[in-house]
Symmetry: C2
Subunit: 303 residues, 2 copies
């Protein structure tokens, strides 16, 4: 595999690279910002790309936020973006369920293991659901629950899908309920399978870890709707109708962002070094995932 | 591999088989009983073995019950047994921590993800612990928790071990706290890693599923103290000092019980068909785990 091109400080190479693409898919955390800290010259870079007529899509695996929630974060940090440019894994899941999976009603109800971001996106796509933030599920498992889940009397016969995301209110009752639906044949989906969530300069359990109990109990993985799953790329393409050969994925994680672009056969991938992956990981001999180009920081694309 | 001997109805073969062993390790659920249903002639079989001078050990992966809790179940179902003959995965973990791992105090404190059975056994072995059934951990994760866990101010500096078992009160706060201790180098132990818990004629998430989030977040497995882990066999042997060549494991699950006996190089293994595994699984060509002998039910060992 050829060595990735280092673009920082090389204006001609940057111009040539940007000219190859009409569409840029951006990861957010680790690229635009880290938590609530905006990286230098990010708004200027976004404006520069817009001034060149590029289409921008912000692709994030965070499932706790809806697109509207995410828009608020862009506004707060001063990054110009519209709700329609945001594509989160919750939205991806809702689009997948409503437009691709299309289970016949009424057996298309979703049992949600996750927060309100998922619920908002399911609402937006008109998908019926239970679980989620419903307070009825935020309680201890009682002895009768074992019986009523086992005999089905505590289950909704219309649930045909279990959707697992990042749930800060995960508990045994929800896990047991979701597991019962899965044992009865429900389709097993996950917004994303990130093992960790970067917060407060440390790592916390991510959506993949919250959902790992169901994966272990079932003995098989969910269909994931976040990066690097190509189900997400299909959903993005379904909405934006772009030419993959003229599209570039920009991200900080080799095994999610860059892999996502490579597997999606995009025209290019650009790694930034402000996040998780280090350049040694893709510059070393036999590196499994190598971007087409890289910069130290996204702001290096402008003077 | 030679075919297992079918002992049901063959008195001479039964006599010969029993004569080879001084010690019998018994799995409980699926062998002695199923839930609260005692299998026929189990008390008579136990008495017959005792009358022949055999030593009996009841080895169970259930981590929610202490040995004392388990003794109550034996009493209730009318199976003669003493507390000292019961060896559960919680006790196994406590013995492993106190007598084999032996971290120097005060850095030997355990963060428990589990129920009171684990706490009772840690108490019995004099192992300090936090977490477990402490109501302080039975609450929602709050924004400050991310900060205080990340900077360590919410952590006990003496915790050197995370012990994960079946926790019916699992939540994000406990998972995040355990994950922080693990990231800081705590030893990662699990009472057992059974993916499912048979209850009410159905399956529910087991200890392995409750702990799967930590495994996913860490990217590595815990050291398991239940069957088929040989750490449990070492703990059983450490307590009972038996001759492995004169010991037989009796169980219903090939991939836990029978595997446990084979890997432990015991003199024999006996499968019973009243539980999970079917005889087709070990009688077929190329079966991965084959017992030395089998009976339809444990009670077949007596007339």
């Amino acid at each position: 595999m050829s060595q990735p091109k280092y673009l920082t400080g090389n204006k001609a190479d940057i111009e040539e690279f940007l000219s190859r693409f009409d569409v840029f898919l951006f990861d957010c955390d680790g690229v635009l910002w880290s938590g609530d800290h905006l990286f230098p010259k990010v708004p200027e870079t976004i404006e520069m790309l817009r001034s060149k007529g590029k289409q921008l899509v912000f692709v994030t695996n965070n499932s706790t936020k809806s697109r509207a929630d995410y828009k608020k974060k862009f506004d707060k940090l001063g990054v110009p973006a519209s709700v329609n440019e945001v594509f989160g894994s919750s939205y991806s899941a809702a689009v997948y369920i409503a437009r691709i999976l299309k289970l016949p009603a009424p057996k298309n109800k979703v049992f949600v293991l996750g927060e309100s971001g998922i619920e908002q996106e399911l609402d937006a796509e008109g998908v019926p659901y239970i679980g989620g933030t419903d307070p009825a599920f935020r309680r201890d498992m009682e002895p009768d629950d074992f019986t009523n889940l086992a005999n089905g009397s505590a289950l909704d016969p219309d649930v045909g899908i279990v959707l697992s995301g990042l749930d800060f209110h995960v508990n045994y009752l929800k896990m047991a309920t979701a597991f019962q639906y899965l044992q009865r044949g429900a389709v097993f989906l996950a917004t994303n399978t990130d093992s960790t969530l970067p917060m407060a300069h440390s790592l916390f359990p991510g959506a993949g870890s919250v959902g790992a109990g169901l994966v272990k109990a079932m003995g098989r993985e969910a269909v994931a709707l976040g990066k690097p799953s190509q189900a997400m790329m299909d959903a993005v393409e379904g909405k934006f109708q772009f030419d993959r050969s003229r599209t570039c994925m920009v991200g900080d994680r080799l095994n999610t962002d860059i892999q996502f672009g490579i597997e999606g056969k995009l025209g290019g991938t650009l790694a930034v070094l402000t996040g998780v992956s280090k350049k040694e990981e893709f510059l070393s001999e036999g590196a499994p995932t190598v971007p087409m180009a890289y910069v130290d920081a996204l702001g290096d694309l402008v003077d």
